[in-house]
C-alpha cells in the first residue's frame, strides 16, 4: 500500500535526519543554540634556522589528534619552499624543501584548535626496547633506584609516581640519582628507567597554552603506558595527569624538528585564545569531513551566505503547509508568502510591511485603470511589472530625499511575484469583490509574517544553517502533514452548524 511506503519513507527521512543532526552535535560539537561560544586557540609555530646555500629539508612534527583539542584549520607561510604533508606511523609531519637557501630562514606554521573535551588522543602504545644499555657504573645505580621504587609501589603507574617523586622531591639526597642526573636529562632518564623496569614509556612534547604568550618552546613530557591506559607525567614536578591547557604537539616519540642543510634550527610558538561564537567555530571546521560531517561550511563564504537563505525556505514552506493544511488559511499564490517573507528578512518587518502595502495598493489602483484598456493578459502583466518597478523607484527616491534610508530596501521585493499578486488580486476584486481580496490578501500577509518570524529567528537560522540533517526532518514532517486527513481549524467554524444542529 502507498500509505505504508509513505510511512517507511517518513521513518527513513526522520532517522537519517536525526542521526545526521545528532552526529553533528555530538561528534563535531556544533551546539544547538547560536549564542554559545567555543574557545579557539590560534597557535603559530616559527621555525628558524641558518642556511648555507645547500639544499634544505625541514621536517616538523604536527599535532595529530591531541587530546582535548580538535584541529580546525592549518596554514603555512614559507616563501619559496615546497611543502608536503606526510603521514608517518608516529604522526603527521610537514616537510618543507628548497634547492638552495642562504642566510636566516623563517617558516611559519599556524594552526587553529577548538577546545574539545570529548576528543581523545589515539596514541598507540610504544614498543619496549629489547635492552637498555647503561655505561658501567650507571647500570647498578639505575637498578638500585628501580628496586627501591618497586618496593614501594604496586603497579606500573604507582611505580612511575614513586620513581618520579625521587627525582623531583629530593634529587640531591640520593647518591644514585645524583649520579644518573649528571649524565642524563630527567625526562630521558625517566623513560630509560621505565624501560629498564619493563614499562612502556616515551618522550612526548607539549606546549602549555596561555593567552597572548610568545616565543614559547615545547616541553618534554613522559607518557607511560599500561595496557590500554596512558599516564602523562610531568618530569619537572613529578605530577601526573594532563593539564587542560597542555597541547601535545608531538606524541609519537619522534623528533619535533629536523633540519637538513641548516644550522641553529629552533622552533618557537606564539598563541592567542579567542572565544568565538560556536557557529564560527563550526564554520572553520574544515577538517571534519566525511559523509557524516557533510556541511555547507565547505563551500566558499559567498555561496555560504546564499545557502543561508536557501536553507530557510523549507521553514517557510513548513509554515505555509501548517497554515493551509491544519488551519485552512487562504493565500493568494501558494508560496508567494514565503517569497515576501524572504524580502522581509532583508527589509525588517515594519518597513517591509509598509513597503508591501504601498506597492500593492498603488499597483492595484493603476491596474484598475489598465483593465479599461482591454489588453491581452501577458501584455497587461508586463505593464504591471513595469508599473511595480516605477513605483519602487519612486518610493525609493522619495524616501531617500526625505531622509529615510529604509526606503531603499524596498528594492528587495520580488517584482515579478508582486506583479502577479497585483494582477490576481485585481481579478479577484472584479469577480468576487473586495471582501475576498482582503481575506486572501490578509491571509497571505499573515502567512508571510508568520513565515518571516520563523525564518528570522536566530535559533532557526543557526539550526538550518549548521544542521543539514534538519532538512530531512522537515521533509518528513511535511510528508506527514500531507497525509493529514482531519479537519482544518477553520473548517470547524465552517461546519459548526452540522456539529450543533441536533443537540
Amino acid at each position: 500500500m502507498s500509505r505504508i511506503s509513505l510511512y517507511v519513507m517518513v521513518a527513513v527521512f526522520l532517522i537519517a535526519g536525526l542521526s545526521l543532526t545528532l552526529y553533528r552535535h555530538i561528534e563535531l560539537q556544533v551546539p544547538w543554540t547560536p549564542g554559545e561560544t567555543r574557545q579557539v586557540w590560534h597557535v603559530e609555530g616559527l621555525v628558524s634556522f641558518e642556511a648555507h646555500g645547500d639544499p634544505v629539508k625541514v621536517s616538523l612534527a604536527l599535532p595529530d589528534n591531541p587530546g582535548g583539542f580538535r584541529l580546525l584549520s592549518e596554514h603555512t607561510a614559507s616563501p619559496g619552499y615546497g611543502l608536503h604533508y606526510v603521514d608517518t606511523e608516529v604522526g603527521r609531519r610537514a616537510e618543507w624543501t628548497i634547492r638552495q637557501a642562504t642566510g636566516r630562514q623563517q617558516i611559519y606554521y599556524s594552526v587553529q584548535f577548538l577546545v574539545d573535551d570529548g576528543s581523545q588522543t589515539r596514541a598507540a602504545t610504544p614498543a619496549l626496547p629489547d635492552t637498555v644499555v647503561w655505561e658501567h657504573p650507571l647500570g647498578t645505580s639505575a637498578q638500585q633506584v628501580i628496586d627501591a621504587a618497586r618496593e614501594r609501589s604496586a603497579d606500573a603507574f604507582s611505580f612511575t609516581r614513586e620513581l618520579a617523586r625521587r627525582f623531583t622531591d629530593e634529587p640531591a639526597g640520593d647518591e644514585n640519582i645524583r649520579l644518573l642526573m649528571s649524565r642524563f636529562d630527567t625526562p630521558e632518564l625517566l623513560v630509560r628507567l621505565l624501560h629498564q623496569a619493563g614499562i612502556a614509556a616515551r618522550l612526548e612534547h607539549g606546549l602549555i597554552l596561555e593567552d597572548g604568550r610568545r616565543r614559547q618552546v615545547l616541553e618534554p613530557w613522559v607518557g607511560v603506558f599500561d595496557g590500554d591506559q596512558r599516564l602523562l607525567l610531568n618530569p619537572r614536578t613529578g605530577k601526573t595527569g594532563q593539564p587542560d591547557n597542555l597541547l601535545l604537539w608531538e606524541a609519537g616519540g619522534s623528533p619535533v624538528l629536523e633540519v637538513q642543510g641548516g644550522t641553529e634550527s629552533r622552533i618557537t610558538y606564539s598563541m592567542l585564545r579567542r572565544d568565538e561564537p560556536a557557529a564560527v567555530a563550526a564554520q572553520t571546521d574544515l577538517e571534519a569531513g566525511g559523509v557524516m560531517g557533510f556541511s555547507i561550511h565547505s563551500l566558499p563564504l559567498e555561496e555560504q551566505a546564499l545557502f543561508k537563505n536557501i536553507l530557510l525556505i523549507p521553514i517557510g514552506a513548513l509554515v505555509v503547509v501548517i497554515l493551509r493544511v491544519l488551519v485552512g488559511i487562504k493565500t493568494s499564490g501558494t508560496f508567494m508568502p514565503v517569497l515576501i517573507a524572504l524580502a522581509f528578512m532583508q527589509t525588517t518587518l515594519l518597513t517591509g510591511l509598509i513597503a508591501f502595502l504601498l506597492i500593492v495598493s498603488t499597483g492595484l489602483m493603476i491596474r484598475s485603470y489598465l483593465s479599461h484598456l482591454n489588453l491581452l493578459l501577458v501584455a497587461r502583466v508586463s505593464a504591471v511589472i513595469i508599473t511595480v518597478i516605477l513605483i519602487i523607484s519612486a518610493y525609493s527616491l522619495l524616501a531617500y530625499r526625505l531622509g529615510f534610508n529604509e526606503g531603499l530596501v524596498i528594492t528587495f521585493f520580488p517584482m515579478i511575484i508582486l506583479s502577479w499578486t497585483i494582477e490576481r488580486m485585481s481579478i479577484l476584486w472584479e469577480e468576487e469583490g473586495a471582501r475576498e481580496v482582503f481575506i486572501q490578501g490578509g491571509g497571505s500577509l499573515l502567512t508571510a509574517v508568520l513565515a518571516f518570524l520563523a525564518m528570522d529567528h536566530p535559533v532557526v537560522q543557526h539550526l538550518t544553517f549548521n544542521f543539514l540533517g534538519l532538512q530531512l526532518i522537515l521533509m518528513a514532517l511535511i510528508l506527514l502533514l500531507g497525509n493529514y486527513s482531519g479537519y482544518r481549524l477553520l473548517e470547524l467554524r465552517r461546519f459548526s452548524p452540522l456539529g450543533h444542529s441536533r443537540d
Binding site: V325, L377, S485, Y487, R488, E491, L492, R494, P497
Partner: protein, 313 residues
C-alpha cells in the same frame, strides 16, 4: 473545539484534507481531469453518451476570431459565453436578450460589442483558466429553466449539484443564485444551497455563506417547499457521468430546462463540501457504504440503490 471536531467526526462530516486524500486522490485519476476541466471536451463526450447538454452556438479559439462573436450570437436572443477551462464559475457571461448594439445581462446592465469582444479575448488569453493557460471560449444557448423555480432565484439559473461516488449518486443540492452572488449559482459567492433528499428530490435544508437558511434571501420563498421534478431521470444522468469520465468522485451540475428536461451543465473533479451543510449531514456514511459495494452495477441499479439506502430520513 476538540469536542466540536469529535461531534463532526461522529456526524461523518468530511473536511477538505480528507476529501483530497481519500476521495479525490484515490478515485480520481489525474489523467482524466482534462475531460472535466475542459467544458468543451465534456460536452462532446456527453453527446457521444447521449447525455443531454446545452446547444452549442459556437467556439472561439483564437484572437482573430474574436470579431466573429457577434455573428455567432446574432440569431439568438439570449446566450452564455464561458471559458472552456474556467473554474469556480469564473468568466461566465450571461446575456439575457439583445437589442441592436447592446447586450443586456440578467441584472439589466448593458454591455456593448467591445465589452463582449474584450471578455472573449480575456478568456482566450487564459485569464479565467486554471493556471492561466490559453483557453477557448464556448458560446451556448441560454437555458430556459423550469418556471417552477422562478420564485427561488434572483436573475440566475438554478442548477442541481449531485455528488456521484463510484457511479452512485450520494448527495444532492440545488444552488439558487441571489443578489449577493450577482446572479451566479456559486456558493462561495453567496448563492443559496438547498439540500435535496436523494430518494425524492425534495428539499431538506438550506445554506448560504456556510450558514443554514430556511428562506430565499431575495424572494423570501420557503426553501422547504422546493421539489425537483424528473428526479429519477436526473439521477440516471448523473450516474451515467461515471461511465462518461471514469472519475470516481465527481460533482455533476445539472440544469432543468423547461423544453429539454435535465441537461448536463458541467462536471467537477473537485466538488466542494458545503453540500454537507445544505443537507445537514456528513458525506462519510454514504461514501463508506458505497465503498463496500462491488463495482460493475449498471446505472439504473446504482440509482435505485442510492434512492433506497441513502434517503434523508
Amino acid at each position: 473545539m476538540l469536542r466540536l471536531a469529535r461531534q463532526l467526526r461522529i456526524r461523518g462530516v468530511i473536511g477538505m484534507n480528507r476529501r483530497n486524500i481519500h476521495y479525490i486522490g484515490r478515485y480520481n485519476d489525474r489523467r482524466l481531469y482534462p475531460l472535466v476541466d475542459d467544458k468543451l471536451k465534456t460536452k462532446l463526450l456527453a453527446q457521444e453518451h447521449d447525455i443531454a447538454t446545452l446547444v452549442l452556438l459556437g467556439t472561439i479559439r483564437s484572437q482573430f476570431e474574436v470579431r466573429h462573436v457577434t455573428q455567432l450570437v446574432s440569431q439568438q436572443d439570449g446566450f452564455v459565453i464561458k471559458p472552456a477551462k474556467g473554474g469556480g464559475g469564473k468568466g461566465i457571461l450571461v446575456v439575457e436578450r439583445q437589442e441592436p448594439g447592446a447586450y443586456i445581462k440578467p441584472s439589466g446592465r448593458i454591455i456593448h460589442r467591445d465589452g463582449l469582444e474584450r471578455h472573449v479575448s480575456n478568456i482566450l488569453s487564459g485569464l479565467y483558466s486554471l493556471g492561466g493557460s490559453p483557453d477557448a471560449a464556448i458560446i451556448e444557448e441560454l437555458i430556459l429553466f423550469d418556471e417552477r423555480f422562478e420564485s427561488y432565484t434572483h436573475e440566475g439559473v438554478p442548477d442541481i449539484r449531485v455528488i456521484v461516488f463510484r457511479g452512485y449518486p450520494v448527495m444532492a443540492m440545488m444552488r439558487l443564485s441571489t443578489a449577493a452572488s450577482d446572479g451566479k449559482a456559486n456558493l462561495h459567492q453567496g448563492a443559496v444551497g438547498v439540500g435535496l433528499d436523494i430518494a425524492t428530490g425534495r428539499a431538506v435544508g438550506g445554506v448560504q455563506f456556510d450558514r443554514p437558511v430556511s428562506r430565499h434571501p431575495d424572494t423570501d420563498c420557503p426553501l422547504a417547499d422546493l421539489e425537483v421534478p424528473q428526479w429519477e431521470e436526473l439521477l440516471l444522468q448523473t450516474a451515467a457521468c461515471y461511465e462518461l469520465t471514469g472519475l470516481g468522485y465527481l460533482g455533476t451540475d445539472i440544469v432543468l430546462d423547461r423544453r429539454h428536461g435535465p441537461m448536463l451543465l458541467e462536471l467537477n473533479a473537485r466538488p466542494g463540501l458545503t453540500i454537507q451543510i445544505a443537507n445537514g449531514r456528513g458525506l462519510r456514511e454514504a461514501l463508506d457504504l458505497i465503498e463496500r459495494q462491488p463495482a460493475g452495477a449498471p446505472a439504473a441499479e446504482r440509482v435505485a440503490f442510492s434512492r433506497r439506502y441513502l434517503a434523508a430520513s
